[in-house]
Symmetry: C2
Subunit: 421 residues, 2 copies
């Protein structure tokens, strides 16, 4: 055999490769910025957030009814109702001007502030107005009943949102309730993206014979954005080592991590490896991962920054980016509390064989199963078998499932966890 | 009983309520706009997209090796190798200047264009260079082996992305491959958001006694954005019917749908209902849904636009918005192909009772189960029992699961589908 380059150092299992990459990155706090809390969905908190005051800020009624002293209602029932004097009506949005004394009650609406000395609310349904200033009560209440106590949602100083978690619309609701209109969040980490290959041309150009359009720059850019990073495109570099090294060094200096997709030829792949190896110490950690698609992946740390060499083939590039680039972005964002990943359980429609010792990620289409229901969705998972070079095989898929390293396949009818694309 | 308004027309099951709302909305194509394809993640296609040309645009090698005529290799093996004359090397990104005749082979790299008359590629591993212009071949190949044929990914004119589907990063990859740099997508539907209640103040203000900050405007705004709409805030309206009617009419004229969150008092809720009823025909379709949280929901269609009255309590508002406002937005976006919703299966840690005849949505925290694995994630679902008025009960949750209308609860240990927040 000739011409066969020693392309792979040693194939490393994916989880081991990721652990090695992560443990080789320096432990740094993310760079922070202040943003308005209204538009913070998807951002990652750079500080823990504690309640500046208790919530609710006053004891409120959770129903429409009458605020009472609970002991005044003890023992009443429909056959032996209790009678109370109406002392007033609690205005919405203001402190009632009266307190509740023994034998008294006040009309209160949901959300109304509990008058002083009242400790429960009798629902309107269990009362009847018997005279102009009197009600009868047909059901007793315990102290605290139908009330939301001051501080029942959160206490002053309580941790409400931890540091290093991604913000969702419900957190924004919480910030509003507490009057938190500004937030410290991690800046969007800049991820440099470089494409390479003599055969690769920009997407807006018409390919000549032998040429292919650059799929990876923009698809990865979209993925980086979705993962919470800011993509910075460095274009398509021809297969010239010095040029590639210059651009890669520039990207590394301007960004917090760099992703290079190799051209598809062996020499282009070698050039990518050589470029990455030249960028800084410790350099290449992993060259070759025991995964399909994605074997020719390079993981490196150069002068404290992650540099990842992705296979040029777009399906591999997207799958591998999900497994290695996304965790790097989340690390740069300072994510400490990972939210559960979006996934669906699906029942495999066919046997899917795999080679033991290799982790396989199989694209699948999810099809509603015959016992479909809208509240407990049930899916059939139909694998899409296609050469991994075909981008539209991935576009036809809803997600990917994993056949672990040690398995030789998954049988038809088994439930698999499909991570959504 | 007195003071008890006939607040609810009739409690309607949620699925029936949604179906009624959807069937009462006019069937309209969404308004379209042209955007650049690079930044189209999350947008919804307004037209079906067909391949302008076949992909790949030429037959390519999928390995490093030698392009051959397959029949020249039939029957060869390690003990009886075949010998072929090297006629050249295929350049990357260009058409080879030669064709392959009987007895010839050409060095080709992954992604290289197949020379004329070649119909297979022998992997480098199974060849050996025997003389300066000769190789021996140790394994035969079938026609088409190690080749991606012209059009194997997609044929010219083939439907690659349907109309009415949300674009993901992988679709962007597909657009790039086909040179599609601009797209027709649905415009972001404008969703008017109105808060109401005399007790409600803007989040940046300090609440006085009895006052609460407006949680809903901004939390709903974030939810609308996430669902693909453009929120338009109309502020907090005091409980004055004419004012509320004026603002709601303005919102309805400027937006494609309107969401009003009621103040918490019965009179504020009545005012919301009266306002919505006045906005146009057919008006209120559903007043009261058999759901917890969210019973006091109003669904209406006014002059062809959806108007939804949400409960003022923020947890109810968020849950109900997910069930009714999000589908309205997706309808306005012209979504025809729904992608699977993000969900996780979790095993309940306690019994959760429910009332038959009511659909319950229970917030849960997902905790990695003891038999956790990174590829097939396994969760324990721990319900968060809290009064539904407490926004931080939702913020502590990863998602919600549903106890259907006819169930009286779900037992500890059962698997439930948790829809992520």
């Amino acid at each position: 055999m000739n011409n066969l380059m020693p392309e792979f150092l040693k194939l490393v299992p994916p989880s081991e490769a990721l652990a090695l990459l992560m443990s080789s990155l320096p432990v740094r706090e993310p760079v922070e910025e202040t943003i308005d809390a209204f538009h913070s969905t998807g951002r990652v908190t750079a500080q823990e957030i504690r309640a500046p005051h208790a919530l609710p800020t006053f004891s409120r009624s959770s129903v429409d009814g009458y605020a009472v002293r609970a002991r005044d209602t003890f023992g009443v029932c429909e056959s032996i109702p209790g009678f109370l004097t109406i002392t007033g009506e609690v205005p919405m949005g203001a402190k009632p001007a009266f307190s509740i004394e023994t034998g008294q009650a006040a009309l209160i609406h949901t959300g109304g502030m509990l008058p002083q000395n009242a400790d429960a609310v009798v629902m309107l349904e269990y009362t009847e107005q018997t005279r102009s200033k009197e009600i009868s009560i047909m059901r007793g209440v315990a102290p605290g009943e139908n009330i939301i106590l001051l501080g029942e949602d959160v206490q002053e100083g309580q941790l409400v949102v931890p540091q290093g978690i991604q913000i969702r619309p419900v957190e924004i609701g919480g910030f509003m309730a507490l009057g938190i209109t500004e937030l410290r969040v991690a800046i969007l980490p800049r991820i440099g993206i470089i494409s390479s290959g003599d055969e690769v041309i920009p997407p807006e150009q018409e390919p000549g014979p032998g040429q292919v359009r650059d799929v990876n720059s923009n698809a990865l850019s979209a993925l980086v954005t979705e993962a919470g990073g800011e993509p910075v495109l460095y274009g398509i570099i021809q297969d010239k080592l010095e040029l590639m090294k210059d651009i890669a060094a520039k990207a590394l200096s301007e960004c917090q991590a760099v992703v290079i997709t190799a051209g598809s030829s062996a020499s282009a792949r070698d050039m990518t490896a050589e470029t990455i190896a030249s960028l800084g110490v410790p350099g290449v950690l992993v060259h070759g991962v025991n995964i399909r698609p994605g074997k020719p992946t390079i993981l490196a740390v150069c002068d404290g920054k992650a540099v990842i060499g992705l296979p040029g083939n777009p399906v591999s590039a997207m799958v591998v980016a999900g497994l290695f680039v996304v965790p790097v972005i989340r690390r740069l964002l300072g994510v400490r509390v990972e939210r559960p990943r979006a996934a669906c359980m699906g029942r495999l429609t066919v046997n899917v064989p795999s080679q033991a010792g290799r982790e396989d990620w199989i694209p699948v289409k999810l099809i509603p199963s015959p016992d479909w229901s809208s509240t407990g969705e049930d899916w059939l998972a139909e694998p899409i078998f296609a050469k991994s070079n075909l981008i539209f095989s991935l576009s036809a898929a809803d997600g990917l499932f994993c056949i672990p390293l040690d398995a030789t396949g998954v049988d038809m009818g088994e439930l698999v966890q499909v991570f959504l694309l």
